[in-house]
């Protein structure tokens, strides 16, 4: 990055920080996002916000743009309009790698572990950007996911689906992020494992991290959500607390199957 660019960005960051001093700044905020693939627009001005110590869940029918919204928030897809801010700083044009360094972490839906690396090596790779001693973080992750400690010398590819998801979440937590983004963390795991994963995600939330996730299992996900976003054709249809959305008969009828 050029010196001038960096200075401009710093100045911008200072400006937006000052602007946010009055209003309470949210941890991660995507505002009026429009984005898509090539000529196909998928997101038509949707807004998603999550604060520290909160779980926000994005639900919606297939093709609503749930995963696309995650990609747009993480910088894997350029925005055509709208903005993304992290703790009040505009990060709309940051690369995903830079966002990781800035405190965001992303767990993709599939291929989210290094299958031939051991569990411990997977975690170490998550901390690749860190130059300090990260063994304490690793121990915290082991106490959050005890099974990972037990299997730390096994290649991640040999673990069960639920255990692999724990490795994936653990890897993402190694940078000690302030925002954790999960794309369908319970895809393809049994209901029992799903409940356990959700319990762990609540524990992560309780440490003060902002958790944003896309879920196919909408009902169960909304039960643990502080905020729920119902997305339809790339727009916000309903936004409310998880509890309120579950109580909303229209949401229930249309999106949760009765």
């Amino acid at each position: 990055m050029k010196q001038a660019d960096r200075m401009a960005e710093t100045a911008q960051a200072v400006d937006s920080m000052a602007a946010n001093a009055q209003t309470k700044k949210k941890r991660l905020e995507g505002l009026d996002i429009c984005a898509g693939y090539g000529a196909t627009q998928i997101l038509n001005g949707c807004s998603i916000t999550v604060d520290g110590g909160e779980i926000a869940v994005i639900v919606g029918p297939n093709g609503a743009g749930k995963s696309t919204a995650m990609k747009a928030l993480f910088g894997m897809l350029p925005l055509t309009s709208g903005s993304v801010t992290l703790a009040g700083n505009d990060i709309s044009s940051m690369s995903p790698q830079a966002r990781v360094a800035a405190g965001m972490a992303f767990v993709p839906q599939t291929n989210n572990v290094f299958p031939n690396l051991t569990v411990e090596e997977n975690l170490d790779m998550g901390a690749f950007l860190r130059n300090d001693d990260f063994s304490k973080t690793r121990d915290q992750i082991y106490s959050l996911f005890p099974i990972l400690h037990e299997k730390r010398r096994q290649p991640a590819g040999e673990l069960s689906g639920g255990q692999r998801q724990q490795v994936a979440v653990g890897r993402a937590l190694m940078t000690e992020p302030t925002v954790l983004m999960l794309d369908e963390p319970t895809a393809g795991v049994s209901p029992l494992v799903m409940d356990e994963l959700f319990d762990r995600i609540i524990e992560v939330r309780n440490t003060g991290i902002a958790v944003l996730m896309v879920e196919q299992n909408a009902r169960q996900a909304l039960e643990i959500a502080d905020t729920g976003y119902v997305l339809v054709t790339g727009e916000n249809r309903f936004t409310d607390t998880g509890e309120a959305l579950l109580a909303n008969s229209e949401v229930r009828r249309t999106f949760l199957g009765g």
Partner: protein, 338 residues
Amino acid sequence: MNSDLLNAAVVFANFVLVPGLAYGSQLALGALGITLVYAVLRFSNFAHGDTMAFGATFTILTTWWLQSLGISLGPLPTALLALPVGILMAVLLCLGLDRLVYRHYRSVKSPPVVFVIASVGVMFVTNGLVRLIIGPGEQRFTDGTKFLIRARDFKAMTGLNEGLSIKVTQGLTVLIAFLCMALLFWFLQRTRTGKAMRAYSDNEDLALLSGIDPQRVVLITWIIVAALSTIAGVLYGLDKSFKPFTYFQLILPMFAAAIVGGIGKPLGAILGGFIIAYSEIMITYAYKKIARYLGPENWQPDSLMQLLGTDYKFAVSFVILVIVLLWRPTGLLKGSSI
């Protein structure tokens, strides 16, 4: 009778066991380079044999220069002293070619087959370069002591009819090859950079998300591959002789070794190297002498007891390759299927 058995064993060791160990080590080092390029850069590098020849060429030129200055390593071949120069030149070649050729195809995300065809082009160019620099003929550059154990001394020592000879170059080949392998495994398993290389090979997207720099991974891979191929090329040249065309031919057994072991798996490349080497030697060796010792007294077989003439040794690798691709395309250690 007992000494017959021993004599047969010595003949076997002299003509099959020891040469196979040396040849297998050379193939293993070559196959390791192929497997690393496949694992990290995701294509089959047909130019690998000629990279070996290129590194060996500069090692030979430096060896000749050192010899002309009267510098030598005493009982060891002078080429060992010249090896760093050869490695450096091969590194420069690989990095230059990556910059000129492969980087472009990476940036436009070409399918693997485009890389393979590009590497065939690189192969012809490198091959031409080598012939321009050192000529197409056979070059000898081995000096120092020739034998670790002489057949004559072995016979005197043991009182057997048959002798076992071990060349210095054979001993060196095995020693250096195992040293390189141990170093490579230590690097891949224990160091941060090595783990990053494995992670990048495992899941490129996730490696990017973790902040691993792909440029650096590619750079380090080429440096390791260039070093391994130069060492393999020089050891092969010391043990046998250097001829550019031989190195071009070596890509068949080396690819066979990498695929038989499981392409993308370093341990597989080593295993495959020895499997191919021993298959080639055992199928083309004439067992007449051994049979004479093991058979009834005063009997000797009518034929040479040779399954295939040595001219067909490349057919052996080819047949093994076809069998493996038909029955177990991922190789013995379950590498990637290609």
